[in-house]
Protein backbone atom coordinates (compact mmCIF):
# COMPACT_ATOMS: atom_id res chain seq x y z
CA UNK A 1 0.00 0.00 0.00
CA UNK A 2 2.70 2.37 1.05
CA UNK A 3 4.82 1.48 -2.00
CA UNK A 4 1.91 2.10 -4.34
CA UNK A 5 1.28 5.47 -2.84
CA UNK A 6 4.87 6.59 -3.13
CA UNK A 7 4.99 5.30 -6.71
CA UNK A 8 1.91 7.33 -7.50
CA UNK A 9 3.47 10.37 -5.89
CA UNK A 10 6.63 9.80 -7.95
CA UNK A 11 4.66 9.56 -11.19
CA UNK A 12 2.77 12.72 -10.35
CA UNK A 13 6.02 14.50 -9.65
CA UNK A 14 7.46 13.35 -12.98
CA UNK A 15 4.45 14.62 -14.89
CA UNK A 16 4.59 17.94 -13.09
CA UNK A 17 8.28 18.18 -13.92
CA UNK A 18 7.60 17.60 -17.63
CA UNK A 19 4.84 20.19 -17.60
CA UNK A 20 7.17 22.68 -15.95
CA UNK A 21 9.91 21.85 -18.43
CA UNK A 22 7.88 22.94 -21.45
CA UNK A 23 6.76 26.08 -19.65
CA UNK A 24 10.34 26.80 -18.69
CA UNK A 25 11.43 26.30 -22.29
CA UNK A 26 9.00 28.98 -23.45
CA UNK A 27 10.12 31.25 -20.65
CA UNK A 28 13.82 30.79 -21.33
CA UNK A 29 13.46 31.27 -25.08
CA UNK A 30 11.54 34.49 -24.46
CA UNK A 31 14.07 35.81 -21.96
CA UNK A 32 17.00 34.81 -24.16
CA UNK A 33 15.50 36.41 -27.25
CA UNK A 34 14.79 39.70 -25.52
CA UNK A 35 18.09 39.67 -23.65
CA UNK A 36 20.05 39.29 -26.88
CA UNK A 37 17.84 41.49 -29.05
CA UNK A 38 16.84 44.47 -26.94
CA UNK A 39 20.35 46.01 -26.60
CA UNK A 40 20.03 46.99 -30.28
CA UNK A 41 17.60 49.74 -29.34
CA UNK A 42 20.29 51.50 -27.38
CA UNK A 43 21.98 52.23 -30.71
CA UNK A 44 19.11 52.12 -33.20
CA UNK A 45 15.80 53.85 -32.40
CA UNK A 46 12.90 51.38 -32.40
CA UNK A 47 11.02 53.54 -34.90
CA UNK A 48 13.94 53.41 -37.32
CA UNK A 49 14.27 49.65 -36.89
CA UNK A 50 10.58 49.04 -37.55
CA UNK A 51 9.79 51.71 -40.13
CA UNK A 52 12.90 52.05 -42.26
CA UNK A 53 13.45 49.93 -45.35
CA UNK A 54 17.20 50.50 -45.41
CA UNK A 55 18.95 47.24 -44.47
CA UNK A 56 22.72 47.57 -44.93
CA UNK A 57 24.21 45.79 -41.94
CA UNK A 58 27.74 45.54 -43.31
CA UNK A 59 28.05 49.08 -44.65
CA UNK A 60 30.55 51.48 -43.10
CA UNK A 61 27.70 53.20 -41.26
CA UNK A 62 25.33 50.27 -40.86
CA UNK A 63 21.56 50.68 -41.25
CA UNK A 64 19.13 48.29 -39.66
CA UNK A 65 15.62 48.83 -41.03
CA UNK A 66 13.39 45.79 -41.27
CA UNK A 67 10.17 47.27 -42.63
CA UNK A 68 10.76 45.49 -45.95
CA UNK A 69 10.83 42.13 -44.19
CA UNK A 70 7.81 42.86 -42.00
CA UNK A 71 5.89 43.76 -45.15
CA UNK A 72 7.33 40.69 -46.86
CA UNK A 73 6.16 38.35 -44.11
CA UNK A 74 2.78 40.04 -44.02
CA UNK A 75 2.17 39.94 -47.79
CA UNK A 76 3.40 36.40 -48.21
CA UNK A 77 1.25 35.09 -45.37
CA UNK A 78 -1.88 36.97 -46.41
CA UNK A 79 -1.58 35.88 -50.01
CA UNK A 80 -0.83 32.27 -49.07
CA UNK A 81 -3.96 32.19 -46.90
CA UNK A 82 -6.01 33.79 -49.66
CA UNK A 83 -5.04 30.81 -51.84
CA UNK A 84 -5.17 28.12 -49.19
CA UNK A 85 -8.30 28.92 -47.16
CA UNK A 86 -10.94 28.53 -49.91
CA UNK A 87 -9.33 25.38 -51.25
CA UNK A 88 -8.71 23.92 -47.80
CA UNK A 89 -12.28 24.64 -46.71
CA UNK A 90 -13.66 23.04 -49.83
CA UNK A 91 -11.55 19.92 -49.42
CA UNK A 92 -12.44 19.68 -45.72
CA UNK A 93 -16.17 19.92 -46.45
CA UNK A 94 -15.85 17.41 -49.24
CA UNK A 95 -14.01 14.92 -47.01
CA UNK A 96 -16.38 15.32 -44.08
CA UNK A 97 -19.68 15.39 -45.93
CA UNK A 98 -19.59 14.46 -49.57
CA UNK A 99 -16.82 12.01 -50.42
CA UNK A 100 -17.39 8.29 -50.59
CA UNK A 101 -15.35 6.18 -48.22
CA UNK A 102 -12.82 5.04 -50.81
CA UNK A 103 -12.29 8.49 -52.29
CA UNK A 104 -12.00 10.15 -48.91
CA UNK A 105 -9.44 7.59 -47.76
CA UNK A 106 -7.31 8.19 -50.85
CA UNK A 107 -7.55 11.97 -50.52
CA UNK A 108 -6.83 11.89 -46.82
CA UNK A 109 -3.66 9.87 -47.23
CA UNK A 110 -2.54 12.22 -49.99
CA UNK A 111 -3.09 15.17 -47.67
CA UNK A 112 -1.16 13.39 -44.92
CA UNK A 113 1.77 12.84 -47.26
CA UNK A 114 1.60 16.52 -48.22
CA UNK A 115 1.93 17.39 -44.53
CA UNK A 116 4.95 15.14 -44.14
CA UNK A 117 7.03 16.50 -47.03
CA UNK A 118 10.10 18.39 -45.75
CA UNK A 119 10.03 22.08 -46.55
CA UNK A 120 13.27 21.94 -48.52
CA UNK A 121 11.53 19.61 -50.96
CA UNK A 122 8.73 22.15 -51.35
CA UNK A 123 11.47 24.66 -52.10
CA UNK A 124 12.99 22.46 -54.80
CA UNK A 125 9.55 21.93 -56.32
CA UNK A 126 9.06 25.69 -56.16
CA UNK A 127 12.32 26.41 -58.00
CA UNK A 128 11.74 23.76 -60.65
CA UNK A 129 8.02 24.22 -61.33
CA UNK A 130 6.31 27.13 -59.59
CA UNK A 131 8.86 29.84 -60.31
CA UNK A 132 9.00 28.72 -63.95
CA UNK A 133 5.21 28.76 -64.23
CA UNK A 134 4.74 32.17 -62.59
CA UNK A 135 7.56 33.55 -64.76
CA UNK A 136 5.83 32.36 -67.91
CA UNK A 137 2.36 33.48 -66.86
CA UNK A 138 3.06 36.73 -65.05
CA UNK A 139 6.58 37.76 -66.11
CA UNK A 140 9.31 38.90 -63.74
CA UNK A 141 12.08 36.66 -62.54
CA UNK A 142 9.93 33.88 -61.12
CA UNK A 143 11.59 34.39 -57.73
CA UNK A 144 8.82 36.42 -56.26
CA UNK A 145 6.16 37.14 -53.68
CA UNK A 146 3.72 35.18 -55.83
CA UNK A 147 5.89 32.04 -56.06
CA UNK A 148 6.62 32.10 -52.34
CA UNK A 149 2.90 32.49 -51.53
CA UNK A 150 1.91 29.59 -53.77
CA UNK A 151 4.49 27.31 -52.17
CA UNK A 152 3.32 28.37 -48.71
CA UNK A 153 -0.32 27.89 -49.69
CA UNK A 154 0.40 24.28 -50.62
CA UNK A 155 2.28 23.80 -47.35
CA UNK A 156 -0.54 25.18 -45.20
CA UNK A 157 -3.28 23.22 -46.99
CA UNK A 158 -2.98 20.00 -44.92
CA UNK A 159 -3.44 21.86 -41.63
CA UNK A 160 -6.50 23.72 -42.85
CA UNK A 161 -8.02 20.63 -44.46
CA UNK A 162 -7.49 18.39 -41.44
CA UNK A 163 -8.82 20.81 -38.88
CA UNK A 164 -11.81 21.74 -41.05
CA UNK A 165 -12.73 18.11 -41.51
CA UNK A 166 -12.34 17.25 -37.84
CA UNK A 167 -14.39 20.19 -36.66
CA UNK A 168 -17.15 19.46 -39.18
CA UNK A 169 -17.29 15.88 -37.95
CA UNK A 170 -17.49 17.12 -34.38
CA UNK A 171 -20.74 18.99 -35.05
CA UNK A 172 -23.52 17.16 -33.10
CA UNK A 173 -25.58 14.84 -35.28
CA UNK A 174 -28.86 16.28 -34.03
CA UNK A 175 -28.13 19.62 -35.70
CA UNK A 176 -27.57 18.05 -39.10
CA UNK A 177 -30.55 15.72 -38.75
CA UNK A 178 -32.75 18.53 -37.54
CA UNK A 179 -31.81 20.68 -40.51
CA UNK A 180 -32.49 17.88 -42.95
CA UNK A 181 -35.77 17.07 -41.22
CA UNK A 182 -36.86 20.68 -41.66
CA UNK A 183 -36.54 20.18 -45.39
CA UNK A 184 -33.17 21.78 -46.04
CA UNK A 185 -31.10 20.17 -48.76
CA UNK A 186 -27.74 18.61 -47.95
CA UNK A 187 -25.97 21.62 -49.46
CA UNK A 188 -28.05 24.10 -47.48
CA UNK A 189 -27.34 22.10 -44.34
CA UNK A 190 -23.60 22.31 -45.03
CA UNK A 191 -23.36 26.03 -45.50
CA UNK A 192 -26.15 27.18 -43.18
CA UNK A 193 -25.66 24.78 -40.28
CA UNK A 194 -22.47 22.73 -40.33
CA UNK A 195 -19.89 25.31 -41.36
CA UNK A 196 -21.22 28.08 -39.08
CA UNK A 197 -21.32 25.68 -36.14
CA UNK A 198 -17.81 24.45 -36.80
CA UNK A 199 -16.61 28.03 -37.32
CA UNK A 200 -14.40 28.28 -34.26
CA UNK A 201 -12.58 25.05 -35.14
CA UNK A 202 -12.10 26.16 -38.72
CA UNK A 203 -10.70 29.51 -37.62
CA UNK A 204 -8.31 27.69 -35.33
CA UNK A 205 -7.15 25.66 -38.33
CA UNK A 206 -6.59 28.80 -40.37
CA UNK A 207 -4.56 30.29 -37.52
CA UNK A 208 -2.40 27.18 -37.26
CA UNK A 209 -1.83 27.47 -41.01
CA UNK A 210 -0.99 31.14 -40.60
CA UNK A 211 1.55 30.25 -37.94
CA UNK A 212 3.19 27.78 -40.28
CA UNK A 213 3.23 30.34 -43.09
CA UNK A 214 4.83 33.09 -41.01
CA UNK A 215 7.41 30.78 -39.51
CA UNK A 216 8.36 28.91 -42.66
CA UNK A 217 11.90 29.63 -43.76
CA UNK A 218 13.56 27.16 -46.10
CA UNK A 219 10.94 26.91 -48.83
CA UNK A 220 10.40 30.66 -49.14
CA UNK A 221 14.15 31.22 -49.06
CA UNK A 222 14.48 29.11 -52.17
CA UNK A 223 11.78 30.83 -54.25
CA UNK A 224 11.39 34.32 -52.76
CA UNK A 225 14.39 35.99 -54.42
CA UNK A 226 15.64 37.25 -51.04
CA UNK A 227 16.37 40.85 -52.07
CA UNK A 228 16.42 43.14 -48.99
CA UNK A 229 13.88 45.59 -50.43
CA UNK A 230 10.09 45.84 -50.14
CA UNK A 231 8.29 43.72 -52.75
CA UNK A 232 7.57 45.84 -55.83
CA UNK A 233 4.42 43.85 -56.59
CA UNK A 234 3.19 40.30 -57.04
CA UNK A 235 6.17 39.42 -59.20
CA UNK A 236 8.65 41.39 -57.10
CA UNK A 237 11.33 39.74 -55.01
CA UNK A 238 10.56 39.27 -51.35
CA UNK A 239 12.52 38.70 -48.14
CA UNK A 240 10.59 37.74 -45.01
CA UNK A 241 11.65 38.08 -41.36
CA UNK A 242 12.67 34.44 -41.20
CA UNK A 243 14.63 34.67 -44.46
CA UNK A 244 16.48 37.69 -43.12
CA UNK A 245 17.54 35.84 -39.99
CA UNK A 246 18.77 32.77 -41.82
CA UNK A 247 20.55 34.67 -44.59
CA UNK A 248 22.72 36.65 -42.18
CA UNK A 249 22.86 34.37 -39.14
CA UNK A 250 25.94 32.39 -40.10
CA UNK A 251 28.32 35.32 -40.15
CA UNK A 252 26.70 38.25 -38.36
CA UNK A 253 28.48 39.67 -35.34
CA UNK A 254 28.13 42.54 -32.87
CA UNK A 255 25.24 44.92 -33.64
CA UNK A 256 24.36 43.00 -36.77
CA UNK A 257 23.87 39.80 -34.75
CA UNK A 258 21.86 41.72 -32.17
CA UNK A 259 19.68 43.09 -34.96
CA UNK A 260 18.87 39.52 -36.02
CA UNK A 261 17.73 38.69 -32.49
CA UNK A 262 15.65 41.87 -32.59
CA UNK A 263 14.16 40.61 -35.86
CA UNK A 264 13.34 37.44 -33.94
CA UNK A 265 11.58 39.51 -31.28
CA UNK A 266 9.41 41.14 -33.95
CA UNK A 267 8.53 37.72 -35.33
CA UNK A 268 7.77 36.48 -31.81
CA UNK A 269 5.53 39.46 -31.04
CA UNK A 270 3.79 38.99 -34.40
CA UNK A 271 2.89 35.40 -33.66
CA UNK A 272 1.96 36.12 -30.05
CA UNK A 273 -0.39 38.93 -31.08
CA UNK A 274 -1.89 36.73 -33.73
CA UNK A 275 -2.59 33.98 -31.24
CA UNK A 276 -4.10 36.36 -28.70
CA UNK A 277 -6.34 38.07 -31.23
CA UNK A 278 -7.59 34.76 -32.48
CA UNK A 279 -8.17 33.35 -29.02
CA UNK A 280 -10.22 36.44 -28.20
CA UNK A 281 -12.16 36.10 -31.43
CA UNK A 282 -12.76 32.44 -30.71
CA UNK A 283 -14.05 33.16 -27.23
CA UNK A 284 -16.44 35.72 -28.62
CA UNK A 285 -17.82 33.44 -31.34
CA UNK A 286 -18.16 30.55 -28.93
CA UNK A 287 -20.01 32.63 -26.37
CA UNK A 288 -22.23 34.15 -29.07
CA UNK A 289 -23.04 30.68 -30.39
CA UNK A 290 -23.86 29.53 -26.86
CA UNK A 291 -25.83 32.67 -26.19
CA UNK A 292 -27.73 32.11 -29.43
CA UNK A 293 -28.56 28.60 -28.36
CA UNK A 294 -29.74 29.79 -24.98
CA UNK A 295 -32.13 32.33 -26.46
Amino acid sequence: MKLRKSLEKGAEGLLLFCALLSTLAVLFITIFLFHRGLPLFRKVPIAEFLFSTDWSPTAASPKYGILSFILGSFYVTALALAFAVPVGLAVGVYLAELAEKKASRAIRSAVEILAGIPSVVYGLFGIAIISAVTRTLFGGTGYSLLSASIVLAIMTLPTIINVTEVSLRAVPHELKEGSLALGATHWQTIYKVLVPTARSGIIAGVVLGMGRAIGETMAVLMVGGNAPIPPSGLTGKVRTLTMNIITDMSYAKDDHLTSLFATGIVLFVFILTLNLVVQLALKRTISSVEGGQGA
Binding site: S131, K237, Y251
Partner: protein, 279 residues
Protein backbone atom coordinates in the same frame (compact mmCIF):
# COMPACT_ATOMS: atom_id res chain seq x y z
CA UNK B 1 30.82 15.51 -56.70
CA UNK B 2 32.19 14.84 -60.14
CA UNK B 3 35.12 17.04 -59.32
CA UNK B 4 35.82 15.05 -56.19
CA UNK B 5 35.70 11.78 -58.11
CA UNK B 6 38.06 12.97 -60.79
CA UNK B 7 40.32 14.27 -58.06
CA UNK B 8 40.32 10.84 -56.48
CA UNK B 9 41.12 9.11 -59.74
CA UNK B 10 43.88 11.54 -60.57
CA UNK B 11 45.37 10.93 -57.17
CA UNK B 12 45.18 7.18 -57.40
CA UNK B 13 47.27 7.24 -60.55
CA UNK B 14 49.67 10.05 -59.99
CA UNK B 15 50.52 10.02 -56.32
CA UNK B 16 52.80 7.79 -54.37
CA UNK B 17 51.39 6.89 -51.00
CA UNK B 18 53.27 8.69 -48.30
CA UNK B 19 51.93 6.86 -45.29
CA UNK B 20 53.92 7.48 -42.18
CA UNK B 21 55.18 10.87 -43.26
CA UNK B 22 53.28 12.57 -40.45
CA UNK B 23 52.74 9.47 -38.37
CA UNK B 24 52.99 11.39 -35.13
CA UNK B 25 49.82 13.42 -35.91
CA UNK B 26 46.48 12.33 -34.52
CA UNK B 27 43.15 13.67 -33.31
CA UNK B 28 39.94 15.20 -34.66
CA UNK B 29 39.88 18.67 -36.14
CA UNK B 30 37.17 20.94 -37.45
CA UNK B 31 38.08 23.43 -40.13
CA UNK B 32 35.64 25.63 -42.00
CA UNK B 33 34.95 28.75 -44.00
CA UNK B 34 34.75 29.65 -47.68
CA UNK B 35 32.52 27.49 -49.85
CA UNK B 36 34.77 28.38 -52.80
CA UNK B 37 37.77 26.51 -51.45
CA UNK B 38 35.64 23.59 -50.24
CA UNK B 39 36.05 21.36 -53.34
CA UNK B 40 39.86 21.20 -53.17
CA UNK B 41 39.97 21.25 -49.39
CA UNK B 42 37.65 18.22 -49.28
CA UNK B 43 39.79 16.35 -51.78
CA UNK B 44 42.97 17.33 -49.94
CA UNK B 45 41.52 16.22 -46.60
CA UNK B 46 40.64 12.85 -48.09
CA UNK B 47 44.23 12.28 -49.19
CA UNK B 48 45.72 13.83 -46.04
CA UNK B 49 43.72 11.41 -43.86
CA UNK B 50 44.96 8.48 -45.92
CA UNK B 51 48.52 9.62 -45.31
CA UNK B 52 47.91 10.27 -41.60
CA UNK B 53 45.59 7.54 -40.44
CA UNK B 54 45.20 8.94 -36.92
CA UNK B 55 43.85 12.29 -38.12
CA UNK B 56 40.16 13.09 -38.65
CA UNK B 57 39.40 16.45 -40.25
CA UNK B 58 36.03 17.87 -41.15
CA UNK B 59 35.51 21.05 -43.15
CA UNK B 60 32.32 23.09 -42.84
CA UNK B 61 31.50 25.29 -45.83
CA UNK B 62 29.96 28.25 -44.04
CA UNK B 63 31.33 31.16 -46.08
CA UNK B 64 34.56 33.11 -45.67
CA UNK B 65 33.11 35.64 -43.24
CA UNK B 66 31.61 33.00 -40.97
CA UNK B 67 34.81 30.93 -41.12
CA UNK B 68 37.04 33.81 -40.09
CA UNK B 69 34.66 34.76 -37.27
CA UNK B 70 34.71 31.16 -35.99
CA UNK B 71 38.49 31.03 -36.32
CA UNK B 72 38.91 34.19 -34.29
CA UNK B 73 36.48 32.79 -31.71
CA UNK B 74 38.46 29.56 -31.50
CA UNK B 75 35.80 27.22 -32.92
CA UNK B 76 38.04 26.40 -35.89
CA UNK B 77 41.79 26.04 -35.77
CA UNK B 78 42.03 26.65 -39.52
CA UNK B 79 39.72 28.56 -41.87
CA UNK B 80 39.43 28.73 -45.63
CA UNK B 81 38.92 32.19 -47.07
CA UNK B 82 38.28 33.50 -50.55
CA UNK B 83 38.22 37.07 -49.27
CA UNK B 84 41.15 39.36 -48.55
CA UNK B 85 41.48 39.80 -44.80
CA UNK B 86 40.76 43.22 -43.36
CA UNK B 87 43.52 45.14 -41.61
CA UNK B 88 41.71 44.41 -38.37
CA UNK B 89 41.65 40.66 -39.03
CA UNK B 90 45.32 40.68 -40.02
CA UNK B 91 46.23 41.74 -36.50
CA UNK B 92 45.50 38.24 -35.18
CA UNK B 93 44.99 36.02 -38.22
CA UNK B 94 47.66 34.81 -40.66
CA UNK B 95 46.63 33.91 -44.21
CA UNK B 96 48.65 31.57 -46.44
CA UNK B 97 47.96 31.66 -50.18
CA UNK B 98 47.27 28.12 -51.36
CA UNK B 99 45.62 28.54 -54.77
CA UNK B 100 44.39 31.04 -57.31
CA UNK B 101 40.89 31.47 -58.62
CA UNK B 102 39.17 33.52 -61.26
CA UNK B 103 35.66 34.90 -60.98
CA UNK B 104 33.57 34.53 -64.07
CA UNK B 105 30.52 36.58 -64.99
CA UNK B 106 27.81 34.23 -66.22
CA UNK B 107 24.59 35.01 -68.06
CA UNK B 108 21.44 33.16 -68.97
CA UNK B 109 21.24 31.78 -72.50
CA UNK B 110 18.65 34.44 -73.41
CA UNK B 111 21.34 37.14 -73.12
CA UNK B 112 22.99 37.60 -76.49
CA UNK B 113 26.26 39.05 -75.37
CA UNK B 114 29.70 37.50 -75.33
CA UNK B 115 31.95 40.28 -74.06
CA UNK B 116 31.54 42.94 -71.44
CA UNK B 117 33.81 45.64 -70.11
CA UNK B 118 34.76 45.68 -66.46
CA UNK B 119 33.19 49.16 -66.16
CA UNK B 120 29.86 47.95 -67.56
CA UNK B 121 29.95 44.95 -65.27
CA UNK B 122 30.36 47.30 -62.32
CA UNK B 123 27.53 49.47 -63.66
CA UNK B 124 25.20 46.46 -63.82
CA UNK B 125 25.94 45.28 -60.30
CA UNK B 126 25.52 48.76 -58.84
CA UNK B 127 22.23 49.21 -60.67
CA UNK B 128 23.40 51.97 -63.02
CA UNK B 129 22.59 49.85 -66.07
CA UNK B 130 19.30 47.97 -65.82
CA UNK B 131 18.44 46.99 -69.37
CA UNK B 132 20.41 44.80 -71.80
CA UNK B 133 19.47 47.33 -74.51
CA UNK B 134 22.02 49.76 -73.06
CA UNK B 135 24.76 47.24 -73.83
CA UNK B 136 23.56 46.52 -77.34
CA UNK B 137 21.44 43.53 -76.37
CA UNK B 138 17.70 42.91 -76.57
CA UNK B 139 15.25 45.24 -74.80
CA UNK B 140 14.87 43.25 -71.60
CA UNK B 141 15.38 43.98 -67.95
CA UNK B 142 18.64 42.81 -66.39
CA UNK B 143 18.05 40.37 -63.56
CA UNK B 144 21.00 40.63 -61.19
CA UNK B 145 21.87 37.55 -59.15
CA UNK B 146 24.15 38.46 -56.26
CA UNK B 147 25.69 36.54 -53.36
CA UNK B 148 24.80 37.01 -49.70
CA UNK B 149 26.96 39.36 -47.67
CA UNK B 150 28.91 36.65 -45.84
CA UNK B 151 30.39 35.41 -49.08
CA UNK B 152 34.07 35.99 -49.84
CA UNK B 153 33.13 36.03 -53.50
CA UNK B 154 30.71 38.92 -52.80
CA UNK B 155 33.51 40.99 -51.32
CA UNK B 156 36.10 39.93 -53.87
CA UNK B 157 33.87 40.86 -56.80
CA UNK B 158 33.30 44.31 -55.33
CA UNK B 159 36.98 44.89 -54.65
CA UNK B 160 38.11 43.72 -58.05
CA UNK B 161 35.31 44.97 -60.29
CA UNK B 162 33.37 47.79 -58.66
CA UNK B 163 35.71 49.48 -56.20
CA UNK B 164 37.58 51.54 -58.78
CA UNK B 165 34.48 53.39 -60.04
CA UNK B 166 32.16 53.21 -57.05
CA UNK B 167 34.37 53.46 -53.98
CA UNK B 168 35.48 51.19 -51.19
CA UNK B 169 32.11 50.80 -49.48
CA UNK B 170 30.11 47.95 -50.96
CA UNK B 171 27.02 49.37 -52.67
CA UNK B 172 25.60 46.69 -54.92
CA UNK B 173 22.10 47.24 -56.25
CA UNK B 174 19.60 45.86 -53.75
CA UNK B 175 17.20 44.88 -56.48
CA UNK B 176 18.92 41.54 -56.89
CA UNK B 177 18.17 37.92 -56.24
CA UNK B 178 20.35 36.89 -53.30
CA UNK B 179 21.83 33.39 -53.51
CA UNK B 180 23.69 31.71 -50.69
CA UNK B 181 26.16 29.62 -52.69
CA UNK B 182 28.07 29.47 -55.97
CA UNK B 183 25.92 26.51 -56.98
CA UNK B 184 22.71 28.45 -56.26
CA UNK B 185 23.92 31.37 -58.38
CA UNK B 186 24.66 28.94 -61.20
CA UNK B 187 21.23 27.32 -60.90
CA UNK B 188 19.37 30.65 -60.75
CA UNK B 189 21.28 32.20 -63.66
CA UNK B 190 20.75 29.06 -65.72
CA UNK B 191 17.00 29.12 -65.13
CA UNK B 192 16.17 32.85 -65.13
CA UNK B 193 15.92 34.67 -68.46
CA UNK B 194 17.84 37.95 -68.64
CA UNK B 195 19.92 37.14 -65.57
CA UNK B 196 23.57 37.77 -64.83
CA UNK B 197 25.66 36.60 -61.89
CA UNK B 198 29.25 35.83 -60.98
CA UNK B 199 30.74 32.57 -59.76
CA UNK B 200 34.10 31.03 -59.00
CA UNK B 201 35.63 30.01 -62.36
CA UNK B 202 35.12 26.33 -61.57
CA UNK B 203 31.36 26.88 -61.31
CA UNK B 204 30.98 28.58 -64.69
CA UNK B 205 30.87 25.12 -66.21
CA UNK B 206 27.64 24.39 -64.33
CA UNK B 207 25.98 27.36 -66.00
CA UNK B 208 27.34 26.44 -69.41
CA UNK B 209 26.08 22.86 -69.02
CA UNK B 210 22.61 24.28 -68.36
CA UNK B 211 22.71 26.32 -71.56
CA UNK B 212 24.00 29.61 -70.18
CA UNK B 213 27.35 31.15 -70.99
CA UNK B 214 30.33 32.83 -69.43
CA UNK B 215 31.28 36.30 -70.60
CA UNK B 216 34.66 37.54 -71.80
CA UNK B 217 35.77 40.59 -69.87
CA UNK B 218 37.51 43.37 -71.83
CA UNK B 219 38.07 40.82 -74.59
CA UNK B 220 39.88 38.30 -72.39
CA UNK B 221 38.59 34.75 -72.00
CA UNK B 222 38.29 33.13 -68.58
CA UNK B 223 40.98 30.49 -68.88
CA UNK B 224 43.43 29.17 -66.32
CA UNK B 225 46.33 30.30 -68.51
CA UNK B 226 44.97 33.85 -68.44
CA UNK B 227 44.68 33.84 -64.65
CA UNK B 228 48.24 32.59 -64.18
CA UNK B 229 49.49 35.13 -66.73
CA UNK B 230 47.56 37.79 -64.76
CA UNK B 231 45.57 38.74 -67.87
CA UNK B 232 42.14 37.74 -66.58
CA UNK B 233 40.77 40.89 -64.92
CA UNK B 234 38.79 39.19 -62.14
CA UNK B 235 41.15 36.88 -60.29
CA UNK B 236 41.96 36.42 -56.64
CA UNK B 237 43.99 34.38 -54.17
CA UNK B 238 42.51 31.67 -51.97
CA UNK B 239 43.79 31.34 -48.43
CA UNK B 240 44.06 28.98 -45.55
CA UNK B 241 44.08 31.10 -42.41
CA UNK B 242 45.39 30.36 -38.94
CA UNK B 243 45.20 32.33 -35.72
CA UNK B 244 48.81 33.37 -35.35
CA UNK B 245 51.49 31.86 -37.59
CA UNK B 246 51.05 28.09 -38.20
CA UNK B 247 52.84 26.19 -35.41
CA UNK B 248 55.52 23.73 -36.52
CA UNK B 249 54.48 20.16 -35.78
CA UNK B 250 50.74 20.98 -35.65
CA UNK B 251 48.17 19.34 -37.88
CA UNK B 252 47.24 22.77 -39.25
CA UNK B 253 50.81 23.44 -40.38
CA UNK B 254 51.13 19.91 -41.81
CA UNK B 255 47.89 20.39 -43.74
CA UNK B 256 48.94 23.74 -45.18
CA UNK B 257 52.32 22.27 -46.17
CA UNK B 258 50.51 19.35 -47.75
CA UNK B 259 48.39 21.64 -49.95
CA UNK B 260 51.45 23.66 -50.91
CA UNK B 261 53.35 20.48 -51.87
CA UNK B 262 53.37 19.21 -55.45
CA UNK B 263 50.83 16.61 -54.39
CA UNK B 264 48.50 19.20 -52.91
CA UNK B 265 48.80 21.52 -55.88
CA UNK B 266 47.91 18.57 -58.13
CA UNK B 267 44.69 18.25 -56.13
CA UNK B 268 44.05 21.99 -56.56
CA UNK B 269 44.46 21.55 -60.29
CA UNK B 270 42.29 18.43 -60.52
CA UNK B 271 39.43 20.26 -58.80
CA UNK B 272 39.53 22.97 -61.48
CA UNK B 273 41.27 25.60 -59.40
CA UNK B 274 44.53 27.19 -60.36
CA UNK B 275 47.80 26.03 -58.72
CA UNK B 276 50.26 28.64 -57.54
CA UNK B 277 52.88 29.44 -60.17
CA UNK B 278 56.13 27.61 -59.42
CA UNK B 279 59.09 29.73 -58.38
Amino acid sequence: MKRLCSAGIALAFSLVAASGAFAQLSGSFTFGGSTTVAPFVYAAIEQFQKDNTGVKISYEGTGSGAGLTSLAAGQYSLAGSSAELSADQLKTLVPTTVALDGLTPVVNKSVKLSNISKANLAAIFTGKITNWKELGGADSKIVVVNRDESSGTYKAFWEIVCQKDYGKAIAYTKDAIVAKENGEVAAKVASTPGSIGYVGMAFAEEVIKAGGRSLMVDGVKDTIANVVAKKWPISRSLYLVTKGAPVAGSVEKAFIDFILSAKGQAIVKSTDFIPLPKN
